[in-house]
């Protein structure tokens, strides 16, 4: 594997790679269509969220986090297609399925990005489900967010990455804080 070849991530490189990674998973393992919407950047979320968020850390010459968010209803729909089993509400199987889907999508993204930023390792996924929670990264970089329309419901795929040596000092002990 070659050394990192770029010092700054081009936003279009990230969004194009995220779209390819996500749509390939929808086509091969979910058997459903998704349409990528207009990407945007965001800092820390300003309002409490509800639904499901799956988080995966990436580490190498670049470090960061990949996240997937969706409603409980969409998580059930995606998990039903993934496992060919109907789910009416979020349970352990849905949480596991969403963690694995996130692992495959972010892993797919990572594999392509490694040609630009060098080798990256992935953490084990963490999935959070609930109401009225806030999740924020200790890093201060913007997140690049791509929304996907999945039959009228929106799933977002987000990436926050920075070169390791330029990573801002964390504000707390935990890399991610759920309030």
């Amino acid at each position: 594997m070659s050394a990192p070849t770029i010092e700054r991530l081009d936003e279009s490189l990230v969004t194009d790679t995220l779209c390819r990674a996500t749509l390939e998973v929808f086509g091969t393992m979910l058997g459903m269509d998704a349409v990528a919407g207009q990407h945007f950047t965001e800092r820390a979320p300003q309002h409490p969220s509800h639904g499901l968020v799956a988080l995966i850390g990436m580490a190498g010459a670049w470090v960061g986090t990949g996240a997937i968010t969706c409603s409980a209803e969409l998580a059930c729909k995606l998990s039903s297609n993934f496992l060919m089993t109907e789910f009416a509400s979020v349970n352990d199987e849905v949480l596991d399925a969403m963690g694995e889907l996130s692992n495959i999508i972010i892993g797919n993204f990572k594999n392509e990005m490694e040609t630009h930023v060098g080798p990256l390792g992935l953490s084990i996924p963490t999935v959070i489900f609930g109401r009225n929670f806030m999740a924020r990264s200790a890093a201060e970089n913007d997140w690049i967010v791509v929304p996907f329309d999945c039959g009228g419901e929106i799933m977002t795929v987000k990436i926050c990455m920075a070169p390791r040596e330029r990573r801002p000092a964390p504000r707390g002990n935990a890399p991610y804080v759920v309030e």
């Binding site: 594997m1 390939e24 998973v25 091969t28 393992m29 998990s79 993934f82 496992l83 060919m84 089993t85 199987e93 596991d96 399925a97 963690g99 694995e100 889907l101 692992n103 495959i104 892993g107 797919n108 990572k110 594999n111 490694e114 080798p119 992935l122 084990i124």
Partner: protein, 124 residues
């Protein structure tokens, strides 16, 4: 002879999907055992007569490459077919797995056809 298969993956979703894919192949299956990481996989290998292993790489406690190394270090299992099925798609990981003695490598996301082709190539 119908095979006893061991699936090693920390995701119960992937274990379930692989069970379904195995049922669709021409391979005669006696039973499928499951483990959540390499440690659990090794324990099952010691207790049961396994004919085929499907293993993830990124797992807690003992990852798939450590698991593969432990398998090949045991004379009893040196010829046991081990198919790696993982999100790790870099050429370096593929080569490392091959060097350690993997019988095949499938990158997630996968189709049922890709798994069937790899199993056919292993000549079970």
């Amino acid at each position: 002879m119908p095979l006893d298969v061991l699936i090693v993956d920390d995701s119960s979703a992937i274990r379930k999907i692989l069970q379904r894919v195995l049922a669709q192949t021409d391979v005669a299956i006696n039973r499928v055992l499951e483990a959540g990481d390499g440690n659990e996989g090794l324990e099952l290998l010691k207790k049961e007569k396994i004919n085929l292993v499907l293993s993830d790489i990124n797992m807690p406690n003992m990852d798939g490459l450590q698991f593969l190394t432990a398998i090949r270090a045991n004379d009893e299992w040196k010829d046991l077919p081990v198919l790696m099925i993982t999100t790790e798609g870099s050429q370096a990981k593929v080569l490392e797995a091959a060097h350690l003695g993997a019988s095949g490598y499938v990158r997630k996301p996968f189709t049922a056809e890709q798994i069937k082709e790899k199993l056919a190539a292993i000549h079970l």
